[in-house]
């Protein structure tokens, strides 16, 4: 799926540029673009290293396990495949918490670690497991309580009440996350029926 999508981006992008004679923009992107992507990565890199370090303290102190324990009732519903003490759940709990506070760059290392833990128990290393997909939907559904960057922009552009969007954003993101999780369930059962038990 990703292989196809990625290829299609290039085929459509480049052919469309040739047809419309928009070669300068594409050339620019190919020659100068990677440098900007590196800048983006360099902006993220120290954050990831730093938060992985802080996260390790939390892990060795047993804080991650504790958080996973608090979220157990929720996790039992969301991840029926996983054992209650699964290492991944601690990372998932931290990832969700930090996402809720709108610190997306800091939540990435937790998410990647969670995926790594889930992959260790995966029998078919090339195919996503049920828990991986649920976690992904949960993550991209991204229940955000306070999107700091958006609020900052709103006050920068002179909003009389920058935070008035917060309750509506929470409602919208909550409904989409719940909807996404329902879809995830439905697709899972449909998939299982098609391919037998797995």
């Amino acid at each position: 799926m990703m292989n196809l999508l990625w290829g299609v981006f290039f085929v459509i992008g480049i052919i469309y540029s040739i047809v419309t004679g928009n070669m300068e923009a594409i050339n620019n992107e190919i020659i100068e673009g990677p440098k900007l992507i590196l800048d983006l990565f360099l902006g993220m890199f120290p954050l990831m290293v730093l938060w992985s370090g802080i996260m390790n303290i939390a892990k060795e102190a047993g804080l991650l396990d504790k958080m996973a324990k608090w979220m157990r009732p929720l996790f039992r519903v969301l991840f029926p495949e996983l054992d209650e003490n699964d290492e991944a759940l601690g990372y998932i709990a931290s990832n969700i918490t930090i996402n809720m506070l709108g610190i997306h760059n800091a939540s990435t290392p937790f998410g990647l670690k969670a995926m790594k833990c889930l992959q260790e128990k995966n029998k078919d290393k090339k195919t996503a497991t049920r828990s991986m997909i649920t976690f992904l939907v949960l993550n991209t559904g991204g229940v955000t309580l306070i999107a700091t960057d958006i609020l900052a922009m709103r006050s920068l552009y002179g909003s009389a009440n920058p935070t008035e969007i917060v309750p509506i954003t929470i409602l919208a993101t909550l409904s989409s996350t719940i909807f996404g999780l329902c879809m995830d369930r439905i697709f899972y059962y449909r998939d299982r029926r098609k391919h037998g038990t797995h």
Partner: protein, 174 residues
Amino acid sequence: MALIKISSYFIPIIVLGIILYGFYKKVPLYDSFTKGAKEGMELAFSIFPCFIGMIFGVNILLKSGILDQLFLFLKPVFQFLKIPIEVLPMALVRPISGNASFAVMIDLIKKHGVDTFLGRLASVLQGSTDTTIYVLTLYFGSIGIKNSKYALKAGLMADAMAIIASILLTSIFF
């Protein structure tokens, strides 16, 4: 404003809480930090190929200008459904690039004013959706998953729901 002020306390308090808890549990703080940071560094390097590959592909698509064309094509559909067409570019770009949709949001706020329906809708949209395709490639790419099964479908449907909910809720409340 108070909320922005409060939110500026989150990160320092999280850091402080972890350090204090580490003290309490007698974790060798600095050793533990450097060990984790080293792992984080390896993790960051290992995702770099996915990172550059995905963003490069997305940029090629965005810079070609084809989304503007798609926008014109979808315009009548949106008008028919009474959905404000100004937010369409945002909805199209959001799953693949958070930066691009953030730029569109600022554009809308600049053009229509921050306390207008569109200004609010753009903010709610940006806050309630996520870069699904980017996260999927990054997370699954980092562990070598090739077959993502129904993940993309479920993620994009959640995004679609977020867009619909944002439009409905913003119209109802403002």
